[in-house]
Each structure stands twice: as C-alpha cells, then as structure tokens.
C-alpha cells in the first residue's frame, strides 16, 4: 500500500472508531463539541511559562480515550505525525529567551526551555482532545451539531459532500499514481510535467463525476435543498457531561493542583 492508500485507510479507521458504541459515543455531539472547545480554550489561556498547571488537563483526553474505548497508541502516533510545525516554531524559544527562571540544583533552567515545554504540553493536549473528539463522534454527527449551532447550511452540506467523496477521489488518485509508478523506472519521483497531467486528468474526471452525481441527485428528487437527518437531543446526560467537565476545567485553570500535591509530598519528606 502506498502513502495515498495509507491516508485513505486512516480516514476510514477514524470512521470505524466513530461507529463504535459507548456512553460517550451516544452523547449529543453538541455537548462533546462545546466541552472540547472549552477544554482547548482553557488550555491555551495559560501564560506561556505555565507547565505544571497544564498537567491535570490530560485527564480529559485520557478520559475520552479510556471511556470511548479508543486505541491510545494509534492516537499518539497521529499526534507525533503532526507535531513538526509546533516543534519548529517553539524550538526557537530556548535560543531566544535565556533568562534563568528557576534553579534545579546546579542546573539553571531558562525561560525559553520552560515555554518550549509548555508549547509541547499544549500541543499534545489540544491535538489529542481534538482527535479523540472526532473518534468518538464521527464527522456526520459533527456536521449535524454544527448545523444545529447555526453554522450556515451550504457550508455544512459542503463538509458532508467532502467527507463522502474523499474516499472516491482519493481512491481514484491512488489508482492513477499506482498505474504511473508501475510503468516507470523511477516509481518514487513524479516529474512536474507528469504531475500536471495526473492532476489535470483527475480534475477532468472529478468534474465528470460531479455532473453524474448531480444527475443522480436529480433522479432522486433533489430540489436544491439538502436535508440533514437530526435525531439527537440535549438531555440530562449531556448537561451533566458539559457542566461536570466545565467545573473540572475551571478548577484546573485556577488552582495549580500538581504544585499543591508536590508541596505536600516534599513537605512530608522533610
């Protein structure tokens, strides 16, 4: 399987996860969306030197992964895959901010290293929460939630279409690039000329497909409006989920639990 095929399998796997069944899967997507959003906002709202207070927040993604029966290793791999950007931008911090912030024995730790660590922690938290959210919700439910939250319908319809045809077109692209690599001596390198022809042909096929899809929709009574099925509702569980986690987030945000814990432990040791 080439890289394209792997990407495709990846999206498919996320959908498989979302099709699972757990109390978390059954929650109204709006509650999950809102809670995750609150989570991200609380995590990124810390000052840039904060590390220890960020740690308790990992409870939320850990909870989602555990209670949603998600494969933790797979999600960690995905987080590592997308980490380069955050690492690249953050890695300058240690070089630029050399002021010693605190002393650990003989080792002086500069503000840059602390803020770099903080960026990494934020990154891991926000990305894992977002990935876990999709894995327990699924793109269709996310779209439904968006629609109910007042997102314009043409945009939501666009998202649904996109999700539906990613598979068809990525499959098409995969077949084309496999056909090319089977007929060449240098399978890995696609020259610019060939690339343009590949993409151009893919585009032509895409437009033909759009025409066919449109006709098929007309045959099935399409009148210019897409109807999205809605079946969820906000109940006691949803309110408990969102409110409960909001309380947790505000406690984590304003009380540095790890520091208290650490002080208690080091105090005992003394």
């Amino acid at each position: 399987m080439n890289k394209l095929g792997k990407n495709l399998a990846d999206i498919g796997y996320m959908d498989t996860l979302a099709a699972g069944d757990s109390p978390l899967h059954r929650l109204d997507p709006r509650a999950k969306l809102l809670t995750t959003f609150l989570f991200i906002v609380s995590v990124v709202s810390f000052n840039k030197y904060e590390v220890s207070a960020l740690v308790p927040f990992c409870l939320y993604p850990v909870f989602l992964v555990a209670a949603g029966k998600l494969p933790a290793g797979y999600l960690v791999k995905k987080i590592l895959l997308v980490s380069p950007f955050a690492v690249l931008v953050g890695v300058f911090n240690p070089a630029l901010d050399r002021q010693i912030l605190f002393q650990l024995g003989p080792l002086g730790i500069s503000g840059g290293w602390v803020s770099f660590l903080s960026i990494l922690a934020r990154f891991a938290l926000t990305v894992s929460a977002a990935l876990a959210l999709l894995s327990i919700t699924g793109i269709n439910s996310v779209c439904e939630a968006l629609l109910r939250c007042g997102v314009p319908k043409p945009f939501v319809v666009q998202l649904l279409f996109l999700n539906r045809y990613i598979f068809a077109l990525t499959g098409e692209a995969e077949r084309m690039s496999r056909a090319r690599s089977l007929r060449t001596f240098r399978p890995a390198a696609v020259s610019f000329r060939v690339f343009i022809q590949l993409i151009g042909n893919l585009l032509l096929r895409t437009m033909d497909r759009a025409e066919r899809v449109y006709r098929a929709m007309l045959c099935r009574g399409f009148d210019g409006h897409i109807r999205v099925v809605r079946f969820s509702k906000i109940g006691r569980r949803e309110i408990a989920f969102t409110l409960g986690w909001s309380v947790f987030f505000s406690v984590f945000r304003f009380v540095n639990i790890p520091l208290m814990l650490g002080q208690a432990v080091t105090g005992l040791l003394k």
């Binding site: 990124v44 314009p152 437009m207 540095n256």
Partner: protein, 347 residues
Amino acid sequence: MHMADALISPAVGGTMWVVSGGLIAYSAKKVREEADDRKIPLMGVLGAFIFAAQMINFTIPATGSSGHLGGGMILAILLGPYSAFLVMASVLTVQALFFADGGLLALGCNIFNLGFFTCFVAYPLIYKKIIGRGLDKKRLIIAATIAGVIGLELGAFGVALETVSSGISELPFKTFVLLMIPIHLAIGLVEGLVTSGVVSFVITARPEIVTAAGEKTPPGVGVKKTALGIAAAAVLAGAALSWFASAHPDGLEWAMLKTSGREELESSGRLHGLLASLQEKTAFLPDYGFRKAAPAGEVKSEPAAGEKAAWPAIDAGASVSGLVGGLLTLLLAALIGLGLKRRQTAA
C-alpha cells in the same frame, strides 16, 4: 503553514473564528443567492479533489524536495471566490478534524490565512486584473503565478502576525516574517506554476469549463468592493485584537483580575507572608501572578527573578514541588484512565 492551537492565545483564536465565521456566513449567503443547483455537488467533489490531489507529491527539479498542491487558486478560477472560499474552509476543517493538521481553535486563523487571501484578495485583485477579458495561455501563467505567490505571502504574513500577537512563541515579528517570506516565495511559485499548468491543461482538453467559470461573475455587489469591505473589517478586527493582545497578554487572566480582587491577596502575600495562613493561601493559589506583566513572568508560585533575594526560602522548593507534583498528577491521570478502561472491558 497550518497553525496549531498550542501557539495561539484565546484572544487571537477567538477573533479569527469570528472573522472567518463571518466570511463563511457571507459566502454561504452569496452562494445561495447564485442559486445554481449544479454547483452544490460540484463544490463538494472539487473539495475532495483538492484533498486527493494534495496527496500526490511531485519532485521539484534540482532541489530534491517535493511539493504538492495548495489548491485555493484553482478553486477560485473554477468556482469563483465565494464558493472557492467555502470549499477551502471545508477542506481545512476536515484536515483539522481527521489529521489534526491545524488546531480547532486555530481553525479560524487557518481559514483566514489560506482561504481569504487567495479567494478574496489575490483572485479578484490580481488574477482577474491580469487576465482581463482575454484568456490566453501566456497571460494565464503570469496571472496564476503572481496571484499564487501574493496569496501565499499574505497568508504567511498572517501566520506571523497571529503567532506573534499571541505571544507564545518567542520569535520576534521581524525574524518570523523574514523566515516565512522566502520559504513561501518558493512555495507560492510552485503553487502558481501548478495552478497555471492544471488550468491550461483543462483549457486544452475542455475549454468550455474554464471559460464558463470565468464568465460567471457573481450577481449583486462586485467582487472588488466586497473584498475591500472584508479587508477593512479584518484590519479593524486585527487592530482591536492587537491592542487587546498587547495590553493584556492573556485575556482570561485579565478578566480574572478584573472580576476578582486578587491583587489584594497578592500584595498582602508580598508583605513577607507573616501570617502562616496567608502564605498557605498564596501557595494554594500559586498561578495568580497578575501583579506584573514582567517579561520574566512567573512559573507557579516562583517569585520573579528580581525578588529572589527577598524570597530565598521558597525558590528551590517551589520548582521541585512543581516537578514532583506534575509527575504525580500525570501518574494519577494515567491510573484513572487505566481504571476506566478496565471497567469498560469488564462491563
């Protein structure tokens, strides 16, 4: 180019969400006004096309590196700015959700950087101007390349501006821009060449597709006028935001300071903490270091560098206990997770 949540502040992320959300609503309204049924499946499938095309890499001659398609300009040429913006926004949303490529809070920034500049600035103000009425290949290549470069450069500028005003990265604005501009000059050139290559391929194979798209100028207000209006709104929002960001590095903390009388507690804590209870309180609420926006900042209850002499006792202890406590909390969270998992499998 996709910004991550870890590098932006809530104020920046929120502002860009509002701006991009407004743009989406506006574009959706425009698309609805066009009332072209045929466009609905076309937009959806073209979005998937961009996705699929991005997964094919090509080798850039003489460099050994590889590039891929960004796609904004092709979409704008084929669909017009409003639909293209919606498609771009949806592609970025799916990338954020499925691949965690760009964060959820940063989504507003990403849609703005990669969608707005290409669809509402580079396309109407540069591509359209150069193409004019006639559509010959040479002009197409020039137009697509220049528009591609400018669109991407503006986007890169946006990334730098948003990152620096968030204040998480230490990179100074100038350095960041100087880093981003040459990289995106190269990427933009490649993007422009791909765009013009693909469009002229389509023109050769099926001229009617591109000419039909070119003729369809959206009804109502002209593209230029609306683009200018939106640009003005963005500049205003940006100005408001940068004021907000620079005056209060952290919106939430600022709000906290305003709503709670935390300053008092801090200042009495600074009176050498004669009362043991008060000292305990400062330890329990260690993060409330609002009293200074000093660049040295404070980690946990760590006193700022200047105060070290006055507070020799706490210094080493606080950082160690922060470390110990952090590790313990991590362990606890992992245990909770394991416990939950076991219960799940047992159930």
